[in-house]
Symmetry: C2
DNA sequence: CAGGATCCTCCAAGATACTG
DNA sequence: CAGTATCTTGGAGGATCCTG
C-alpha cells in the first residue's frame, strides 16, 4: 500500500498506543494472554491503580481490550486482547524490533564520542 | 524476534514518534524526500512555525532528520531523513496500514449502532 | 480485589510578536 | 525565509485516601 501523508491515519494508531503505560500493557496481554487486574499491576512496577484503571478503560473504549467481571467476592476482573486489538501486534512488533536496534545505535554513538 | 515486555524498548520508538506533528513530518520526508522548511510548513496546514521548528529540532537531536543550512540570503534550509531515520519506515508503514483498516472498523461500528 | 473520588503538578502545544 | 522569544493553558500523569 502506498503511503499518502495527507489522508493517512497514522495518528489513529498513535492515539491508541500513546499513554505512558499502554504499550507495555498491550505487550503483556499479547504475550501472556488473559490477565487479572492485580497480575497486570504486579508485572508493572511503578504504575498506580488509578493509572492502570485509566489506561485499561481507554483501551476498552477503543475496543482493544476486553474486560470481563466475575460477580463474586473478592472481585475478579480479567483483561484480554480483542481480535481487533490483536491487529495492533505488527505495529508493536515493529516498534519492538526497532527498539532493539535503537539501543545498539545509542551505544555506538556513545563509543564514537 | 520474541517479544519480552520487561526489557523491551517500545517506548524508545514511541518517544521519537510522539509529538503532535512528528509522524506526519516523517511521512512527508519519507515519501517526498528532501524538503525546505517552507515546503514542509505549506504541506501541513495548521502547524505554526514554532511547532515545526521544535519538532524538527527534536528529530534532528535524535539523529532522525538531517538539517542542511545554505548560507545565503534569503536563507535556505533543507531537511531530509537520515539513514537511521529511514529505519523507522516499517513502523510508520505498519501504523499507516493499520490506520486504513481502522477507519473501516470505525465505520462498521457506526453502522451497527 | 478492583476500583472510585480528589487534588496537585508539570509541560506539550498553541498564540503572538519580533529578527538576522 | 527561517527562524527566536514570551506568555498562556488544557489535560496527561501522579499521590493519596476511601469503598462495595
Amino acid at each position: 500500500m502506498e503511503i499518502k501523508p495527507e489522508l493517512c491515519r497514522v495518528d489513529d494508531a498513535l492515539g491508541i498506543l500513546t499513554g505512558k503505560w499502554k504499550p507495555i500493557i498491550l505487550l503483556h496481554l499479547l504475550t501472556k494472554g488473559t490477565q487479572r487486574f492485580s497480575e497486570l499491576k504486579r508485572n508493572m512496577p511503578g504504575i498506580t491503580q488509578k493509572m492502570l484503571t485509566n489506561q485499561l478503560r481507554d483501551l476498552e473504549e477503543e475496543d482493544i481490550v476486553q474486560r470481563v467481571v466475575y460477580p463474586q467476592v473478592p472481585p475478579k476482573v480479567e483483561y484480554s486482547m480483542t481480535d481487533y486489538g490483536k491487529s495492533l501486534e505488527p505495529i508493536l512488533r515493529a516498534m519492538h524490533d526497532w527498539g532493539a536496534k535503537h539501543s545498539v545505535h545509542k551505544k555506538q554513538k556513545m563509543v564514537s564520542e
